[in-house]
Symmetry: D3
Subunit: 325 residues, 6 copies
Amino acid sequence: MSNTNKTKIPWEPRPEGSKDIMWRYSKNPIIGRYSIPTSNSIFNSAVVPFKDGFAGVFRCDNKAVQMNIFAGFSKDAINWEINHEPIEMKAGNTEMIESDYKYDPRVTWIEDRYWITWCNGYHGPTIGIAYTFDFKEFFQCENAFLPFNRNGVLFPEKINGKYAMLSRPSDNGHTPFGDIYISYSPDMKYWGEHRCVMKVSPFEDSAWQCTKIGAGSVPIRTKDGWLMFYHGVINTCNGFRYSMGVALLDLEDPSKVLYRSKPYLLAPAETYEMQGDVPNVVFPCAAIKDDEGHIAVYYGAADTSVGVAFCQQDELIEWLKNNSL
Amino acid sequence: MSNTNKTKIPWEPRPEGSKDIMWRYSKNPIIGRYSIPTSNSIFNSAVVPFKDGFAGVFRCDNKAVQMNIFAGFSKDAINWEINHEPIEMKAGNTEMIESDYKYDPRVTWIEDRYWITWCNGYHGPTIGIAYTFDFKEFFQCENAFLPFNRNGVLFPEKINGKYAMLSRPSDNGHTPFGDIYISYSPDMKYWGEHRCVMKVSPFEDSAWQCTKIGAGSVPIRTKDGWLMFYHGVINTCNGFRYSMGVALLDLEDPSKVLYRSKPYLLAPAETYEMQGDVPNVVFPCAAIKDDEGHIAVYYGAADTSVGVAFCQQDELIEWLKNNSL
Amino acid sequence: MSNTNKTKIPWEPRPEGSKDIMWRYSKNPIIGRYSIPTSNSIFNSAVVPFKDGFAGVFRCDNKAVQMNIFAGFSKDAINWEINHEPIEMKAGNTEMIESDYKYDPRVTWIEDRYWITWCNGYHGPTIGIAYTFDFKEFFQCENAFLPFNRNGVLFPEKINGKYAMLSRPSDNGHTPFGDIYISYSPDMKYWGEHRCVMKVSPFEDSAWQCTKIGAGSVPIRTKDGWLMFYHGVINTCNGFRYSMGVALLDLEDPSKVLYRSKPYLLAPAETYEMQGDVPNVVFPCAAIKDDEGHIAVYYGAADTSVGVAFCQQDELIEWLKNNSL
Amino acid sequence: MSNTNKTKIPWEPRPEGSKDIMWRYSKNPIIGRYSIPTSNSIFNSAVVPFKDGFAGVFRCDNKAVQMNIFAGFSKDAINWEINHEPIEMKAGNTEMIESDYKYDPRVTWIEDRYWITWCNGYHGPTIGIAYTFDFKEFFQCENAFLPFNRNGVLFPEKINGKYAMLSRPSDNGHTPFGDIYISYSPDMKYWGEHRCVMKVSPFEDSAWQCTKIGAGSVPIRTKDGWLMFYHGVINTCNGFRYSMGVALLDLEDPSKVLYRSKPYLLAPAETYEMQGDVPNVVFPCAAIKDDEGHIAVYYGAADTSVGVAFCQQDELIEWLKNNSL
Amino acid sequence: MSNTNKTKIPWEPRPEGSKDIMWRYSKNPIIGRYSIPTSNSIFNSAVVPFKDGFAGVFRCDNKAVQMNIFAGFSKDAINWEINHEPIEMKAGNTEMIESDYKYDPRVTWIEDRYWITWCNGYHGPTIGIAYTFDFKEFFQCENAFLPFNRNGVLFPEKINGKYAMLSRPSDNGHTPFGDIYISYSPDMKYWGEHRCVMKVSPFEDSAWQCTKIGAGSVPIRTKDGWLMFYHGVINTCNGFRYSMGVALLDLEDPSKVLYRSKPYLLAPAETYEMQGDVPNVVFPCAAIKDDEGHIAVYYGAADTSVGVAFCQQDELIEWLKNNSL
Amino acid sequence: MSNTNKTKIPWEPRPEGSKDIMWRYSKNPIIGRYSIPTSNSIFNSAVVPFKDGFAGVFRCDNKAVQMNIFAGFSKDAINWEINHEPIEMKAGNTEMIESDYKYDPRVTWIEDRYWITWCNGYHGPTIGIAYTFDFKEFFQCENAFLPFNRNGVLFPEKINGKYAMLSRPSDNGHTPFGDIYISYSPDMKYWGEHRCVMKVSPFEDSAWQCTKIGAGSVPIRTKDGWLMFYHGVINTCNGFRYSMGVALLDLEDPSKVLYRSKPYLLAPAETYEMQGDVPNVVFPCAAIKDDEGHIAVYYGAADTSVGVAFCQQDELIEWLKNNSL
């Protein structure tokens, strides 16, 4: 079981006349801000193949603007039933499962279970970890790191015998900097071997990713490397603008960046991306793929709703090799 | 005469299918940005029952973006005739009626006249006070406080024999903090007995009101307490977002908060609230009520236009008691 | 040859019912963000009469959000063919033609050739200068000034025997201040006689231009003085808002401001101006005029696309004299 | 009883060779940082003639760096016995005598008792008021103003039948701005008639007072006006530098500044003023005077200790008239 | 072998007349800024008993103000021979021993070797770890954490079978916040079980430690708990002021704070602490103890030199219990 | 006539035991803060050989902390007679000699006269230029550049037929950045050919000059290149610290840096450098040299007084070549 699905993932061919490498689903956003009764907004969420359909973990801020994560289910990965109650955690590898808030989840299958990571409030943001077998019971583990951290994303398999996680060390506010690091763990409890993977680009070379970058989707194993969608941020005079790029990391040593997109793949240009609680945000949190190389990327739009975009793996990788920073 | 009107206030029933406690007027915004010839924007304005209809004091920024307040009149409180010239003040209880600018008015009837408060420019923002009997002649009084202050809102009757005013001490810029205080005056000239009423909430508990809060509408006397709509602000990475909440204050000692909404009542979600001179602002300045407990709240939208939203008093209070911070 | 054209410039009469001095082209934006294959956005661009039609220099940020300038051509000044490759510079009066980036071009004819100025990246933003005879070959000259500077705009003829340039000294970020200065040069290589021309206005007098101002279009010679469209900025709690004003400078000594608009001429109010990569921006970079006094102003909208607005010179000047700061 | 003393105030003649209008006591600092067992620092304190000697209220921060005020007594106003326990307040004209901290006291006799003002912590800094008859029992009254305020200084007599207080509206941090205002009260409970008295000077004219200013000593009645020592602040690249100036305010309407020193009177130049918990601070809080026109000014040095400086009233006023801003 | 020495540690009795719990060595600073030829400053350094004397690791910034750590040796722990070349690291439990800079070392003996921690430059500050057997050869291990972190301090023995380290998560500049956390490791390579230990105090309660706090010395095992000296910071209007406090942590679970000093133990008051490259800094990095309970604390003074202060363990603990926050 | 003097410049040999390349004059500071009646501080000043002695231009801030420059004269370049009145400027190559303030002068002889540059207040800081033949009459010329600029330093002869000036583009406050540029002029009126000369160093390589750098003394022609003393700044948590370095620039093209000191030459370490109006400042503004290669450097100390330091040219250049960044 993995991010690649035998079953039918959402798909639309590239719109006529378009030469874009990535294109939006025509019925975006697929999940609106008020899709469950208590929600103020639903965005920055993750989905995985599950049984004969799909499961997901969704960031639903409620109308007190408290941030929490909710399980959801879907047959087609477009139409979702999201639980009305947030995920309740049981003790996993620790009794210390404090959590002031939870947001920006990612999900992946590793070996025998689904692992969820998210931004966990423990005296500030850090990376929370939990596992589930069924998306009903969830078991929270030790936080991976000290505060302050965000955008923790696990690899979907062990690398050299260890769990591997990307993350973006942060500060305790609207962090105006941010690079992507990798860390390893023998046991999902103790983490080390921290390496810098990717840093922001010089303004002159690729300004959309010059302020901060963070891992987005769980990396997809390809013969060319780990394929990962990430977000990049530029600090305009009217605030941060979040766009999406893609990178290929070395299969054996993913701290080595093989290719990294110089142009963005997708940037805020539709009203639902440019208007909302935080305007001008495209924020990928998951990607699923079928056997034909179709990829559907799930992204938060304007911190308000969830959109989907498509690309074709081979095309994407070729483009990436030709457009690398 | 009071905020409660025998005559017909604007009203629309809750839209079908909605479970919201507060809902928008279907023809919002009721006052557009260019509704008088000189205006750049009309917003954050206050209305009261007046004679057989309604009067109001409107913030109309002109095309030099100078801020001033204008009188207006309406039969139905929806369609407004706003004067093309700003209110000209005469001396009230002082000759010192300097005013670099005037904005964000509130209006209420107390005993024998209408009182207007607003943010008055006197070496920075402070609280201006004036009275009128007829919305033609206005008499400006001493500023209530030293700079810097905003969102001064009078109670519609004396409390323990004194005038009472809510306000939000500020700084001289885009204040990134702000709590609600109450002060008392025997004579509308000298103010004291300052007490803290409500502070911003912890981010974890109710983030929409974690950066600053300010009184909105003139409180409405109910058997359960003073019912007051207020604004709360969260500082997102792309700027301030203003939403509306509601509180009940003790009738005898309004520095005691009986209930205060943990979820917001109304947050920016319509294009006219999310797009404009200052995106993502819902800013209540007045509420009128009829004998059936219908309440119409007037709010500024995106610092650009005026909207109306409705709720039913009994429902609201019950909801508030069940959703208190 | 000059900014005044014998041939037909774009024109639409004032919309019925409108009393505005300046009005938008009904089919705005005339150039969309993706009008060339590589572009993320096209905005803040300049046009001039050229041969039997028009030529222009366009700011096209690519999808890596690298900023560069591109030549383009049009018969009607509305429908543009923009080159897919940026302008490649040859050495003009210097071999030192380094340029980390180029943005916000202006263009004017002086004596025997077209001169282009832009914001040139040389250890930070400063004013780049180049000339062309044909919009095919371009010759880059010495930067006019030390960093940090933006919005360099040449007068369309020598003044007292010298080239004259307006500019706005800046810092190396999202400069929160900015006034307009004039400098002179005998030879387009050495610059001096720097004079302050216009400063930001007091907040109380004209808030839309209280944070920073910068020259927009190449000044148009009129019998009343040099007519120049400029931008003004107000710092709202949700970021900078850019509007357009107009000034008349003394013909002999353009450091003397004869009139300067207290109200803005055009401020962000259409969706394409309020929504985009940088919301709430109206940024004029060029103005062309015909023999009947019709003026078409070209402006960047929301750092995303190009719009056109119209006014009538006589009307405008009369209005300006009556609405001067 | 008043700030003018029949008895002997501290005095040293101007040092030989000096032409300074104000000169330091040769044995400064008169009170060291550890003068009571718990103190970390003793500074910014006020003294008055009392019985056959002097009493004072002293800011002693303890070694937890909690700020509080302590009574003290002296025969000669140089050698002080400061109580080891802070002043304990009883209810004066209110039961609400909350105080998170107390600092920077001033003291004056009005009519029948001594009044103390200080910066009182009530949800941020504001002006606390208390009275005493004997410096043993102290009675705390209503805070004069809403937060945020500092440097509240009473006039030593009623003006036009009302109590009058200078203060400096502030923000909730290390306020980078600050002007002096006056407010009036009929009863020491309700305050109004707020007027701006003195603002910071333009940098070019008098830079030592260009960032913020605040009232220092209780004004001394002279035939030429109210004589008041105040502090002015310049923001250097290495922090705030506090110096001392002097002003004469109109006797009838003290919101009118008759003269105000352009040069400072005393600026940090001795090691005990340049080195300490906050380097480069000279902060006057009291001035006493004898019948010969000798004036002794008490000032905090480097937020660490207390110094005294001398001047001769006639000389001072003449100098002030010749050196006014 | 441990921080407790059978041999003679530096010691001076409390000065006559003093009631201080901690007092300075009379010949401070013991190490001046230019004590090795290349140094600009020597401060924030750590010492341990070694063989029949003492060894230390010293922060010596050179005259290019590059930060590095140097070994040194002493017979009496007062007079030091510091190597003229910085420590050269060999690979310990990793080949990745990158280090842009090294500063603020701590040293302790655990089981069979000496462990050094310091602030290590790896894409920003994080915690470096190394071991040595002889202070000649040093073996650098994996960084404990992701950036950004400072003030990593090991416990001198395993706790519940794991290595334990205190640290202070930071940002990438002059961090204006900071609390103390504990983390555990089975192997000095992977770290987890992160717990918050101590946070800054409320300003009203103990202002000297209200901005940030960080572990100082390696904790000393006592029957009452782990005794640890730490630094606390207050942000004055003229910069950070660093003082020293002390805490007792639970022996079994050191994330539990048993006692923590409300007053500081030592704050900048001598010229060598108030004047230097960073004025007003007292920064403890080591403490050694003899069998009589004498404790000598080593601290950096003004980021310029090294001082020593003394206390008596029993007295200290009793005082701490009586003066706990 | 030049910076090299046949007559006796101040000189002291290196103190015994010292290995420093630069050492201080034993009687520093040579000019105290109160050396003229009106002065608050005298610092950042420049001297040149003049007639049979020396002349200088001195920055004397008066007690209103207004900044101005004053002429002075000396036989021995140690004991100075500074005029009590500031320099009064006559019109040089322009009538526009506005000046809100003048500070940080430099002086050099070129061809037939002495040229003075300084930081001139014209709508913010820029570079003022004047000439004198006799230090009695001074003729002010056009400002070299637009605001904002500081530290303009002329070369003592034309280079390739043009005047050459170093400067440091700035912003309008306590600029937190700053690199050294060169510009050329044919006539001291129009300036161009701006080139970047030296940028701040990476923090890891040489932190004392990682925040900003600025030219100090007028460059001295040597066979190895233009020898120039400059200042470098590090931003500590308690403010800026200014130190002195030295560079050699190419004789033909001084935009080429041949050598640049990695360690500083002199950094604040004496009380008069660490304590004063702005602590921790060493700021060179002039250097004079005799035929034996003795060099005396004049520097401002703590923005308060003037110090002198010595070095030997040959030694210095050799050291520089061995210690270059």
